[in-house]
């Protein structure tokens, strides 16, 4: 397994991590556990979101994420907003932007609301007005197309998270239809999938994301390390592309 053990001597910036308490199964998702997992895999920076904000109260969770970023230099906070609450949702975009938060992550799959309903559209418009990078789940068939429609008439960069081989054709079609869309690596696990994506949509549209600490960081890093991409292309996926779209946010 010498090749599978290959280390990536590159800067790695994970766009998709979280921390907090795990209510659905017994697991250690603490900041310390996440930090250790990132460090042991050579990841120097990670966008991370508090699970308190996902499962309970987004304002409290967002405060926790911002506070964690002050304590841990490797952590870049992602805000989350649950549009089911309505009250204070749009104001939370502004509050987070004033706190210099650039990443906004949404969890319709966990919270049980339709990706393309009007409250989400309203939130996206507000993020478009104030600036931000949006992360939306795209693992279900039809989700990339709904995200494409949401992105219409907005200039917000949207990262489609968790598209997999079963809906990758749809994700590719959507990437080709909108320059504002990106794809994370979390479930890009088929052989040669990165090579196919580079050929079809270009290297700049692929963003490294792992969903640590719930998923194995090493597994998705292996796919990138053992791909036939050039080293510069691997570096684009592992950090440069994410840094570039974050820099577009004032």
């Amino acid at each position: 397994m010498s090749l599978a053990d290959k280390n990536l001597a590159m800067t790695i910036f994970d766009s998709n991590t979280f921390f907090g308490f795990s209510p659905r199964e017994k697991a250690d998702y603490s900041l310390d556990a996440l930090g250790e997992m990132l460090k042991s895999n050579g990841v120097s920076k990670a966008i991370s979101c508090s699970l308190r904000g996902v499962y309970y109260d987004f304002k409290e969770g967002n405060d926790e994420s911002v506070a964690a970023s002050r304590e841990h230099p490797w952590l870049v906070p992602a805000a989350t907003i649950d549009p089911r609450r309505h009250l204070g949702c749009l104001a939370e975009v502004e509050r987070m932007r004033l706190a210099k938060v650039k990443a906004f992550r949404f969890f319709p799959d966990v919270q049980g609301w339709p990706l393309d309903f009007l409250p989400m559209r309203n939130l996206l418009q507000e993020i478009g007005r104030l600036g931000g990078v949006v992360f939306l789940p795209a693992g279900e068939s039809g989700a990339p197309t709904r995200i494409l429609h949401l992105a219409e008439a907005l200039s917000v960069p949207i990262v489609m998270v968790g598209a997999n081989y079963s809906n990758l054709a749809e994700a590719i079609a959507c990437l080709l239809a909108s320059e504002n869309l990106y794809l994370d690596t979390q479930q890009l696990v088929t052989p040669m999938v990165l090579e196919v994506l580079v050929q079809e949509v270009g290297i700049q549209r692929i963003i490294f994301g792992s969903r640590a600490p719930e998923r194995h960081l090493r597994a998705i890093l292996n796919v990138i390390a053992n791909s036939t991409l050039k080293e510069t292309e691997k570096q684009s996926i592992l950090s440069d592309n994410l840094l570039r779209i974050l820099e577009t946010v004032p």
């Binding site: 397994m1 697991a27 999938v193």
Partner: protein, 243 residues
């Protein structure tokens, strides 16, 4: 994990309706070489999703040309007589080492009368089964019916820790963890609960990259001895392979 010899017990040759470059036996061998995997036991994608008889011929051709590849005979519970003929045709060679059953594509639950009848025929022939089962409870009921027949539940068999507990309880039940999502710690828990003797390495290549699945085994915190059993020795014993 450097130096660990690896047998991947779950692979396919053939095409899928997804953006994956067309598969060939040569392509599979290249993937194995890059991942450091010595041997792979395949079934034909054509055989799994459509015509098992045609698919077994594709697999036969692949294993004939590539010594790294071994094969499962794909059988179909909807065609018991023809499935027996397929087993008798292919299992007398040393290239076909087990039997593959995919309940989803055949529309028969693991413990359906049709599938139990088929497993009874497999048990007579004494070769291990790689079972892509229906629910864990249904698969466990099938495994319990044939205590002499080794059955490997693909993709971990179902929820944890229940699947590992079943593997710990039933001497003929084994697990492999090919999956496009790898919950952290799943392989480690399975080894702890079921013992390393009951866990094997399978990737589902070329639907899933073995590099990806290996990552979960690498991060499982297993000792060298445990890894050797999981990645190599268990498969050698179960499939009666030559080292």
């Amino acid at each position: 994990m450097n130096g660990t010899r690896i047998i991947d017990i779950h692979g396919h040759v053939g095409n899928w309706p997804f953006p994956i470059p067309p598969s060939s036996a040569e392509g599979l061998v290249n993937i194995l070489r890059r991942a450091g995997i010595e041997r792979l036991i395949i079934s034909s994608a054509l055989g799994v999703v459509y015509s098992f008889k045609e698919g077994n011929l594709v697999a036969a051709e692949a294993v004939e040309r590539h010594p790294q590849l071994l094969a499962y005979v794909v059988v179909n519970a909807n065609y018991p007589e023809e499935s027996c003929q397929e087993m008798d045709r292919h299992l007398d060679t040393d290239k076909f080492v087990g039997v593959k059953i995919h309940t989803d594509y055949q529309g028969r639950a693991s413990d359906s009368p049709e599938n139990l009848r088929l497993l009874e025929e497999v048990a007579k022939r004494g070769r291990p089964v790689l079972l892509h089962g229906s629910s864990l409870a249904e698969s466990v009921r099938a495994v319990e019916r044939f205590p002499e027949l080794p059955i490997i539940l693909a993709h971990g068999g179902g929820p944890m820790p229940e699947a590992a507990e079943a593997a710990a309880r039933l001497p003929n039940l084994y697990l492999e963890f090919a999956a496009s999502t790898q919950p952290y710690g799943r392989v480690r828990s399975a080894v702890e609960i079921a013992t390393p003797e009951k866990i094997l390495f399978g990737s589902d290549v070329d639907l899933i990259s073995p590099d990806f699945v290996l990552g979960a085994y690498q991060e499982a915190g297993l000792t060298e001895e445990q890894l050797e059993k999981v990645c190599w020795t268990n498969a050698v014993k179960l499939f009666n392979l030559k080292e």
